[in-house]
Amino acid sequence: MAQRVGMEVSLAIAEAVKLANADVVAAYPITPQTHIVEHLAALVADGELDAAYIPVESEHSAMSACLGAAATGARAFTATAGQGLELMHEVLYVASGMRLPIVMAVANRALSSPLSIWGDHSDVMAVRDTGWIQIFVENGQQAVDNVLCAFRIAEDHRVLLPVMVHLDGFHLTHVIEPIFIPDQDEVDKFLPPIQYPMPLDPAKPMTMGAFNPPDIYSETKKAQQESLIASKKVIFECWDEFNSVFGRQYSPIEFHHGEEAKVLLLTMGSFSETAMDTIDRMRAEGRDVGLIRLRLWRPFPFEELRQAVRNAEVLIVLDRAVSFGGPGGPVCSEIRSALYNVDKKPKIVGFVGGLGGRDISAAGFEEIINRGIEISQAGSDQEFEMYGVRE
């Protein structure tokens, strides 16, 4: 029977990687991911995880080493944050372009300059288009569960794409939470051994990564796009299967009183947990508000989103990153785009907040909701508003 323990989320993620019997861990430390790689090192050192631990000399090499390992058919894992994610940027495209099932935990962190080690979603948004499957978690349990799911999804022969599991830096990585750590035999039932269909093998020599001239590149990219779209089905299957084994169900979009409410707030990541308190409090006062929690970021759940907001009149989107000089919050602009052609759609108001580790309290969320309703009625001369900035 699974044990429920109080554990720092970073350590719990490492435990999940251990349960998944990863073969290769490429590790480069960066705040606030360090505890993940440190704990993995300890697990390997103690013989609890039988994996090759490669202390690479940079994140670019971390992802590169994962590529090499995955290409041989090994189960590869790494973790990074902020600057590290940026440094490995070009390699991320290679991982997805080469259809290698690498799993990476990203402790979302703000980007320099100025230097900030604290959490926001800037690093995530910069890798939006890299072709990875991307899942957001809101607490430690979800982190553990989705790391396990990530391996299964990535390695499914119908998918064969890398997966990022996003968790807020410090807000999640460094907190101790009550978490059910599954038993090994349960995990073994859920997660089969990796069987990469075309590994590097002298018995079947082939060339991986032949370059594409213009007359074929588009076809390769279309194939990649189609495979990412097709992965959605597998992701849902996986979550359903996870539920049947472990009793916890995940969905691309989850709700907190969001199914029927007229005013909806949309958050991603650890914000959702605080926002749930706000929703409870406001509903207790009779306000018709609800929370949409976006879990599956890529492939974007278009149908599920349209379904989720079909009855809403106002949709307030809170981004934790900003696209300078653009439409503001990346999530909000994607949502606007997803709903553009829908006849009956809510008014969409975008906020950016919580940058660089700035907390938003439960009361703060209430302010956002109220201000959002205001803007939906009176309009605004700005594309979006940054919440909580001292003027």
């Binding site: 039988d50 971390a62 590097l200 002298p202 370059f211």
Partner: protein, 311 residues
């Protein structure tokens, strides 16, 4: 399975080609020949990680490939890191019993740009971590594939497109980075330089490198008729002159000990080497003299390190 053998001068070379015809290397490409010979020495039981560069571009234009061994390309500067991952992955798969094949040799192949400049970090990391792999740098002394731009392996005085000759410039103004010394500084067991003009020496060194436990590094001079502006039929001759003039000495560093591979009673004058290549044509007598002095000095130092008396 017995390979067919061709005997040349009492040496056996496999007839098997692992880098086959149909690749799009330039006419007379020294690098293609170096790769072909290296692959004969490596055999079929290898996995090759290959950087962006001439070889990758000429040999793997989708849907064709000139490689008959498993081969992966990722990016430009990360070949050593990818090779490290392959090594680790294979090690674990063998250890966990999920792969039954015998030991597979892992070889990273990259050019001078991808090794000496942008790839030096990944190389250093891989060497320091002690992965069991062979890293071969195919050195054609510039970024040839992108149009002959200088690298830190471009020799002093050579003209390239980013170290051109002009009123204010006489070409490359720095001396070639000493990659073997850098590799040896990582305390690895085997470092060597080679050149396809000395084909058996090259193949022997590749075998030695592959069999070395831990990391091994070989730098192979690859004559580039296109970039060096020399006649394609002289590729072997020019490679030989590079060695005979001391511009590119052939040696090994085994556990820190230097060993010269080719005994040269005296160095041929550099002018013999320069005169065949357009990239050196602009050099004044004075400049050649300066380079000659440095080459002589460096070669003397090398002989000293190899424990060879100058007399």
């Amino acid at each position: 399975m017995m390979d067919n053998i061709i005997t040349i001068d009492e040496r056996s070379v496999t007839e098997e080609e692992y880098f086959v015809s149909g690749h799009r290397a330039c006419v007379g490409c020294g690098e293609a020949l170096a790769v072909r010979l290296a692959c004969k020495a490596l055999g079929s039981n290898v996995i090759i990680a290959n950087a962006t560069g001439c070889m990758e571009v000429v040999s793997t234009q989708y849907p064709h490939t000139a490689w008959r061994v498993p081969w992966i390309h990722t990016l430009f500067e990360n070949t050593a890191a990818v090779a490290s991952g392959i090594e680790a992955g294979l090690k674990m798969l063998h250890r966990k019993g999920r792969r039954k094949d015998k030991k597979v040799y892992i070889v990273a192949m990259a050019g001078d740009g991808g090794t000496s400049d942008i790839g030096i970090q990944a190389l250093s990391g891989a060497l320091e971590r002690g992965h069991d792999l062979l890293y071969i740098c195919f050195d054609n002394e510039a970024y040839m594939n992108t149009g002959v731009q200088r690298s830190s392996a471009t020799p002093f005085g050579a003209a390239t497109t980013t170290s051109p000759v002009g009123r204010e410039s006489m070409g490359q103004y720095t001396w070639k980075k000493n990659l073997p010394a850098i590799a040896a500084a990582h305390d690895i067991h085997y470092v060597a330089t080679a050149c396809p003009s000395y084909p058996f020496d090259l193949m022997d060194k590749v075998v030695k490198g592959k069999e070395t436990k831990g990391p091994a590094f070989i730098q192979i001079l690859s004559v580039c008729p296109t970039g060096w502006r020399c006649s394609p039929e002289l590729t072997i001759q020019i490679g030989r002159l590079a060695v005979e003039t001391g511009m590119f000495p052939l040696y090994e560093i085994e556990d820190g000990e230097y060993k010269l591979s080719v005994k040269l009673p005296e160095l041929k004058p550099l002018q013999e080497y320069f005169s065949l290549q357009g990239r050196f044509r602009h050099l004044s007598e004075e400049a050649v003299g300066e380079i000659q002095a440095r080459v002589n000095r460096d070669y003397s130092k090398l002989m000293e390190m190899a424990g060879i008396d100058k007399n």
